[in-house]
Amino acid sequence: MSNNRQDFNVSGRLALGPGEYGNLHFSGSGRLTGDITCTSISSSGALTSEGSIDCEEQIKCSGAFHCKGSVRTKALGCSGSTHIDGGLETGKLECSGSVKIDGSCSGESIETSGSLAVKGSLEGKSLDVSGSVKVGKSVKMEIIDTQGSVSIGGDCEAERFISAGRLDISGLLNAGEIKIRLSKADSRIADIGGERIEVRRAARSGIFDFNPYRGTLDAGSIEGDDIYLENTKARNVRGTRVYIGSRCEIDTVEYTGSFEKDADAVVKNLVKVGSGADIQ
C-alpha cells in the first residue's frame, strides 16, 4: 500500500494533475486534468475529469460528476448526476440519481432507483431496477429484477428475469425463469426463449380503474418448456406445456405435451408436435 498518496480536501476550486492520489473530497468545483489512480473520491460539488479514473475503494457523488475517460472502481454511488464518456467497470453501482454511460458497463451488483442509461452493453451478476434502465446494446446478467421501465436495444440474457413495468426489448430475451407482470402501458419484446415463461397482465389499480385490463405484450416468437400467457399478442408460441390465458391473440401454437386456453383467448392455429421432449 503506497503511503505517498496525498489526500485532498477541496472546498473551493482546484485542478489536480494526472497521478496517484489518496482520498479525494470535493465540495467545491474540482477538475482532474489527466488519468488518475486514487483510493477514494467523494464529491458533493461539481467534479470533471479529463482522463480516466482508477479508484481502489469507492466513488461517491451527490453532485455533478463528468468523466471524459473511463472509470474503474470497486463501488460507485451516485445520488446526483453522473456522466461517463467512456466505460464503467465496477463491483457495485448504486444510483438514485441519474447515471449516463456512453461506453459499456460491467458491474457485479447494479442497483438503480433513479435512471440508468448505457449506450453500449451491460453485463454483470445482478441488476435491480426500481427506476428506469435503458441499454443501447445487449444485457447479460445472472439475475434481473425490475420494477420500472426497461428498454434494451439488443438481446437480454439472464438465469432469472423478473419484471413489473414497461418492457421494450429489441432482441431476444433468453432466460431460465421469466416472470413478467405487465404495466398499463404496452410492452414489446422481439422474441422470448427460456424454460419457465410467465406473462401476467397488470394488477388492477383500485376501484376507479375503469380500464383494468389494458396493457399488452407484443412479441414475435415465444418458446419454452412451461408457458403461461395473459394479455399477449404473438406470432408463434411453442412449448411443452402451454397455457394461453385471457386477452391473448396468438397466430400459431405448437405444443409437445399439454395445451389449455382460456375461453376468450384467440389461437388461430393449433398444432400438436412429436411425442413430447424428453430432455429439458
Binding site: N174, G224, D225, D226, A277, D278
Partner: protein, 209 residues
C-alpha cells in the same frame, strides 16, 4: 459451398431436447451464437442451424451433461486460457498444486516461474497424476507435458489424458474430450483426467481471489 441446414423444429424433434434446454445451452455458450441462423421463409422468420455441426454438438452435450456441469462442458468447447502470471508460492497457497508437483515441474523444466495459465493447468494436472499414484516421477511429468502440448495444438475442443497399464508398463494417451478410445482388452485404465475440468477448476480458484 453452402452447408446443409436444419430447422430448429427438426433439431428438437430429432434430438428429443426441449426449447428450454436449447436456450439454456445457448446462454451457457455450449452452442455458439453464430450457429443460430435467422432466415425469412414463407411462414415468417425461422431459425436454422448447420446440420452436421449442431447434431454432433447436441449429442456430445447429451452425453456429458450427467457427469459434468454446464460450465465445465462450456470449457470443453471454448477452451479459453486467461492471462495470469502465478509464482510458485501463489500456486501452493491457492492450492492449485502441491509442493511435490511444483518441485517436479520446476526441476524437470528448469523453469522457476512465474507461470502462465496453460503452465498452471499442466502443474495442476501433474499434481492430480501424482496423487492418483498411477505413474510418478518423470513419467508423470511427460504425461502432463504431452497433454499440455496437445491442448495447445487442438483448437476446437479440450482434451483428456488417460493412463493405461499393461503388464506393469504404463502408457499415456491424450484424446479429444468427448472422443472414445478403443484399447486392447488386457490393458487396464489406471486413470483419466479431464483438461476441461482442470481448466474450469483453475478458473474458479482464480475467480475467488
Amino acid at each position: 459451398m453452402e452447408e446443409a441446414l436444419i430447422t430448429k423444429k427438426e433439431l428438437l424433434e430429432l434430438t428429443g431436447i426441449s426449447y428450454g434446454a436449447l436456450y439454456r445451452w445457448k446462454r451457457k455458450n455450449l452452442i455458439p451464437d453464430d450457429w443460430f441462423i435467422h432466415r425469412a421463409t414463407f411462414t415468417g422468420q425461422e431459425t436454422f442451424f448447420p446440420r452436421e455441426k449442431i447434431l454432433e454438438r447436441v449429442e456430445k452435450i447429451k452425453e456429458l451433461k450427467d457427469s459434468m456441469s454446464l460450465d465445465e462442458i462450456a470449457e470443453i468447447f471454448n477452451p479459453k486460457p486467461r492471462a495470469v502470471s502465478l509464482t510458485p508460492g501463489e500456486i501452493e497457497n491457492l492450492r492449485i498444486a502441491s509442493e511435490n508437483a511444483l518441485e517436479l515441474f520446476i526441476r524437470g523444466k528448469t523453469d522457476a516461474g512465474p507461470f502462465s495459465f496453460e503452465q498452471s493447468v499442466e502443474i495442476r494436472l501433474l499434481d492430480k497424476i501424482l496423487k492418483s499414484g498411477a505413474i510418478d516421477g518423470s513419467d508423470a511429468l511427460s504425461a502432463a507435458e504431452l497433454a499440455g502440448e496437445v491442448l495447445r495444438s487442438v483448437e476446437k475442443e479440450s482434451v483428456k489424458l488417460e493412463i493405461y497399464k499393461k503388464q506393469g508398463v504404463a502408457f499415456s494417451l491424450v484424446t479429444e474430450e468427448a472422443g472414445i478410445l478403443f484399447t486392447d482388452r488386457t490393458a487396464e485404465k489406471a486413470a483419466s483426467f479431464s483438461l476441461a475440468q482442470i481448466t474450469a477448476e483453475l478458473k474458479q480458484i482464480l475467480d475467488r481471489i
